[in-house]
Amino acid sequence: MTSNSKLNPENMTDVLGLYIKDVIDAYPAVGAVLATAGIGCVTCNVGTCLIKDVVSIHNLTEAQEQSLFAGIASVVFPGRTVSLPKTERKAQNLGVQQLSPPLQALVNEHTNIKRVLTLIPALSERIQKGFDAQSRQICTQVLSFIREYADRFHHAKEEDILFKFFDSGSDIIGVMCKEHEIGRNHVRAALAALEQNDATTFIEQLQAYGLLLTEHIRKEDEILYPWMNRELSDSQVGKLFSKFGAVDEEFGAKAKQYLGMMETLEKG
């Protein structure tokens, strides 16, 4: 159980200040209530976000938010009438907003990463009975793409640049970094398995990485980036654009090389 637990909340304000996983563990029906608002925290690997932060990041309308709070209250305080708090809202909400150029660039990079992730099931099938020379080369290339393009190029942009525009101590940024780290551990383990000719462990680790990163990318594309997009000022967008441009310039030739490798891998 995480440290801020107060699992005898007296009111909904107390509930909003709890870690989401603690609440879901103590009141499993809350998971289904959250799902009705498109909040899929039940499957999260970490779950150390406060409920109020999770709600805030999803940009719900006031009516949706009150309906969600009422649903949670009915689970946590059955049969009781409790007052529902209102979260601080931005004065202007133009609805679905187009991502700024630097955040859109990250989404485009996700598209490339997902193209390689979709190759994992067929690759796993192919090496079930062990590696041969050709499959070993393909596995090496897949790991190389993940370590260089997905991690050193893309995740480094997030961790070293984008996340620094936000409170680095926030739970939501912490969860994203934690998932990057879990992914790195899977890749290290897969690489070790490849070196030891252990196809079973290689498949386990690569598949775990694929599942983790698919869900991680979905969270970033659908929730984290739109929230960041709303929070960033125009001036911050310009600075982000400039810093990403410097990384693109430094890594540019290598990135192109990895995109070429991706296309070759897709052709089988």
Binding site: Q92, Q97, Q98, Q104, D234, S235, V237, G238, F241
Partner: protein, 156 residues
């Protein structure tokens, strides 16, 4: 009043709700303008206040239509104003915007225009300049309705 012709010069009158405007009367609103001149023909694109700045290129009519222009859009930014319909020698505009991007190394460019079709030309001028520039900067377009509402914001 004719219902045909150019939407940019069509005569219209707007009724304002007294209740919503009464609170504003008599309150001194602080100007956020931090430079002079402002007209795009008159500005020097290399002026110190354009160096690395967030620049808002505003169509002439916008600041009259948008009640909170100073506080919400001009604050913290450098400005130039222009009219894509009436101003002459707009190739100079292209050169000046290009110089903002390449020489003054501005951080961002926000182009604010009215919803009338003739105003789109200002975004076209900015895009031509951006295409000719060596550097790239994020360009945002804000479209303001005739009654001062924000119709849309998008990154080019």
């Amino acid at each position: 009043m004719s219902q045909c012709g150019c939407p940019g010069s069509q005569t219209m009158a707007f009724k304002r709700d007294e209740a919503t405007t009464a609170t504003d009367s008599g309150v001194a609103v602080k100007s956020q303008l931090a430079q002079w001149p402002v007209q795009l023909h008159l500005i020097n694109p290399m002026a110190p206040y354009f160096q690395g700045a967030d620049v808002v290129l505003t169509a002439d009519c916008v600041a009259y239509a948008l009640g909170n222009y100073h506080s919400n859009y001009l604050k913290g930014k450098s400005i130039a104003i222009a009219c894509p319909k009436l101003d002459s020698e707009q190739e100079e505009y292209v050169e000046k915007i290009k110089s903002w991007i390449d020489d003054a190394k501005i951080n961002t460019l926000t182009v604010m225009i009215m919803q009338v079709p003739c105003c789109r030309g200002l975004m076209g001028v900015a895009q031509r300049a951006a295409e000719q520039a060596t550097r790239k900067v994020p360009i945002k377009c804000v479209i303001v309705g005739l009654q001062g509402d924000i119709i849309g914001e998008s990154w080019a």
